[in-house]
């Protein structure tokens, strides 16, 4: 560890993200008419904002590269993966299997995100939340969503 590393990883990562977004925007809006300031086409603002985002991206990459080494707190995939999986499960299930099943699935999958989760408790809690959600959102607030798959 005697070797002196350079680079603020936070700035480098954020800068890289900005450059990617700017490039993506430019590519997606390239065919739109830009026009002039007096008669702006639909492509005018995207072009201007994308150029600014690119400038900021370059700024962060350069600042990050010359700065002293600064790490990023190492990501712990467990939380991220299971929370995203829980949301994805809800998206896939809610209109097909109904709110009851989607809610239980979301709670149970989300539960895996934490080491402290107790399986039985989470399943029971998921059931209770599902019933509560159906009563509150579907019965009381009239959210148009199926309750059961049938």
């Amino acid at each position: 560890m005697a070797e002196r590393r350079r680079g603020d990883l936070r700035d480098l990562l954020f800068g890289g993200f900005l450059i990617a977004v700017a490039g993506f925007t430019a590519a997606a809006t390239w065919s739109l008419r830009v026009g002039t300031a007096a008669n702006m086409g639909p492509g005018y603002m995207p072009r201007v904002v994308a150029a600014l985002v690119l400038a900021f991206g370059l700024f962060f990459v350069i600042r990050g590269a010359v700065a002293a080494f600064h790490p990023i707190a190492p990501p712990q995939p467990r939380g991220v993966v299971f929370i995203l999986a829980a949301v994805a499960a809800f998206a896939l299930l809610v209109t097909t299997a109904g709110l009851m099943i989607a809610a239980v699935a979301t709670i149970v999958i989300a539960g895996f995100a934490s080491r402290e989760t107790r399986p039985l408790e989470t399943v029971l809690f998921g059931g209770a939340m599902a019933v509560g959600a159906v009563l509150l959102f579907v019965q009381a607030l009239k959210l148009p969503v199926p309750i059961w798959p049938w």
Binding site: A28, V49, I83, G111, S114, E116, R118, F137, L143
Partner: protein
Amino acid sequence: MDLFGNLALGLATAVQPVNLLYCLIGVVIGTAIGVLPGIGPIPTVALLLPFTFGLDPTSAFILLAGIFYGAQYGGSTTAILVNVPGETSSVVTCLDGHEMAQQGRAGPALAIAAISSFYAGTIATLVICLLSVPLSALALKFTAVEYFSLLVLGLLAAVVLAHGSVMKALAMVLLGLLLGLIGIDVSSGAARMTFGIAELGDGIDFVPVAMGLFGLAEIMANLERPPVRQVVSQKVRDLVPSVADLKAAFPAMTRGTLIGSILGVLPGGGAALPPFTAYAIEKKVSKNKAMFGHGAIEGVAAPEAANNAGAQTSFIPLLTLGIPANALMALMIGALMMHGIQPGPQIMSEQPQLVWGVIASMWVGNLMLLIINLPLVGIWVSMLKIPYRLLFPAIALLCCIGTYGIANSVFNIWLMLGCALVGYLFIKVGAEPAPLLLGLVLGPQLEENFRRAMLLSDGDVAVFVQRPISAGLLAVAALLILVLMSPTVFRKRKEALAE
């Protein structure tokens, strides 16, 4: 327009039974989420938004506003009893509030926090009344040129006063502007960045973005931190503070209210910045400096008054100019637009019942909060016994249901998922998501006004500095940037926000 006429109209609106009910619901929910760390007013308001569509806009707004200032009350309870801020705005209350609780004075600390909040809420309501009319009269003189400059100033100021790196915040605003561009361009009908997805035609919904960035990303980050939660198990008694306590707290409350009211109006102010400032000033002017950090009652009164005053006065730019002061107000603008009300200077003359009804409801709501917070403090404390392992799946589920509910669209859930992932990246690299939300909500207005201004001036950008009001606004914006660039201010700001 006279002040009393307005207030009377407002009060008459606010005390209608249905509005009283929604106000009560709002402040109860607000207190609950304020007490619970890990869920803030932004995802809560976003969650409830779709379900307010059926309501009268005034009732809906009263409910949503109640959540915001109710959360300021609730946050202090957790800060005092657990030493964990229930909301970011109650971070400083932990310092002296929790110290008081450890000395067995939890009762007086809670009482002073609630009384300070109520006192500040009352004064702030009056401040809103006094400032709203002249500000909206000024705003009626605005054309697209002034409006564009005002939006630029609003966005810049929000960045300057926000936490964290200024450069990162500016970049976040731009990202928000980019997201705001998605959809069918209103003047040409061309689809921009919709990638053939029909749901994106009307533009990106801000609710999934807010829930992803603030609700879900926050959970993912929280799960990586070691859990801390130890409730002070003492019985909370002496909820009626002694005369000596009140005497000591009163000047602090007044100063806190003043600071909160001023900082709340500024863009970026809201409820987060005032308590820090108020605490720092109180520490300087107090006669017993040594007591600070060791259970000084002024150290509870001043920040609590400041955050509540700031939470309320941050409605002023929204109600008069249609400019949100912080991310939550950006959500409120979205709420107005969904109810078919165009936010902006004309809102006061076109919707007097809504504006004054909401203002008066804040005072009514504060009264309710005083009542539900003090005698019922035990109930709120028992809520803290809900472990996080159950809380976070429930929040995730509610985010899903709320996002779906905004347009009954599964696409929005996927959008929220994407935003959650990006939000997690933002937390990792230390970029605050609030400016992004401001950019997203204001982006379309910014483009529209720029386009109109350019049409008026025939493409001459000089128009922005030729008109006096616009030039003044831009000068303030330029000054802000200059001040920010100067190294001494930069260091001071860092210190002030680091506290």
